[in-house]
């Protein structure tokens, strides 16, 4: 995977992260109890994004299957955002 391909894949997850963070912030502001559940979900998403963000594909710090599982987890979290 080239750095450009990697960055393009990450962009989609990044947009979801911003959207979810915005939802959680609004729930927090309203003191909505639903914020807690969504915050846990967002926290996991944020951990995944931390692992993927700013990664230099030439550094070999992560194995290909690790990168693959991170993208899969990020996608799964995007698709299962709590209603």
């Amino acid at each position: 995977m080239t750095q450009t391909e990697y960055n393009d894949s990450l962009d989609i997850l990044f947009l979801n992260e911003i959207k979810f963070a915005d939802v959680v912030a609004k729930l927090r502001r309203r003191m909505d109890s639903d914020a807690f559940k969504k915050e846990e979900h967002l926290m996991m998403f944020d951990n995944v994004m931390y692992a993927l963000r700013d990664y230099d594909v030439t550094s070999d710090g992560l194995a290909d299957d690790q990168i693959q599982s991170l993208f899969e987890l990020g996608t799964q979290l995007s698709l299962t955002w709590p209603k």
């Binding site: 926290m43 996991m44 951990n47 710090g61 992560l62 990168i67 599982s69 991170l70 979290l77 299962t80």
Partner: protein, 200 residues
């Protein structure tokens, strides 16, 4: 002639693979950077036994060759110091920058300063490239979906580990060695608890 209004400053950034260090000028030169004839980089760090290890000085201007210095002055590109070009006591340095609290000092002169009185800037930095990678692998190796009670706890621990890493970096940025060591101990404790394998 001494510099008239020189305020040395620079940025330092360790590479992700811990094999390079990029230094970029951030000084106020008053248009006098071209007078510089000596620019020496001194790097030191505390090892795991709290002993200060000094790399041998690294010259940015070698004789009439100011290529490295000119790269350093380029605020977009900066100059990249390859770890392979550094030595400690004349012996080759380790393959990667070890994790720890670093002090990077660059001193400058245009020939009029006595030795020991050169204008300089000291930049304390946390070098945590390996630990950051280990935290990335914690996410890929330990987190699964859906979230069970166990995963809930691990998720929180990883989030905290990231905060510890940020706090260690902040402590170093402010020159707080003891605070850095406290966070370094916490970070290592989390890695030990989860038996996270060293990335390199």
């Amino acid at each position: 002639m001494a510099y008239t209004a020189f305020f040395p400053s620079f940025l330092a950034q360790e590479s992700q693979d811990a094999m390079q260090l990029k230094i970029t000028d951030n000084s106020v030169w008053n248009g006098e950077s071209g007078f510089t004839t000596i620019a020496t980089v001194e790097i030191s760090y505390y090892d795991e036994n709290d002993v200060l290890i000094n790399f041998d000085p690294y010259e940015l201007i070698v004789g009439a060759d100011a290529t490295k210095f000119n790269e350093f002055l380029d605020r977009t590109a900066g100059h990249v110091i390859e770890l392979s070009s550094l030595t400690i006591g004349g012996v080759a340095a380790p393959d990667r920058f070890p994790e720890g609290y670093y002090i990077i000092k660059i001193s400058f002169s245009e020939g009029s300063y006595a030795v020991g009185t050169f204008p300089y800037f000291e930049n304390p930095q946390a070098f945590l490239a390996k630990w950051k990678f280990m935290t990335r692998t914690m996410v890929s190796d330990l987190l699964v979906f859906p979230m069970t009670d166990e995963i809930y706890r691990i998720n929180r621990d990883i989030f905290l580990q990231r905060i510890y890493l940020d706090m260690a970096e902040n402590a170093a940025d402010y020159g707080k060695v003891l605070e850095f060591k406290n966070f370094a101990t916490l970070i290592q404790g989390v890695f030990d608890y989860y038996s996270v394998v060293d990335t390199w």
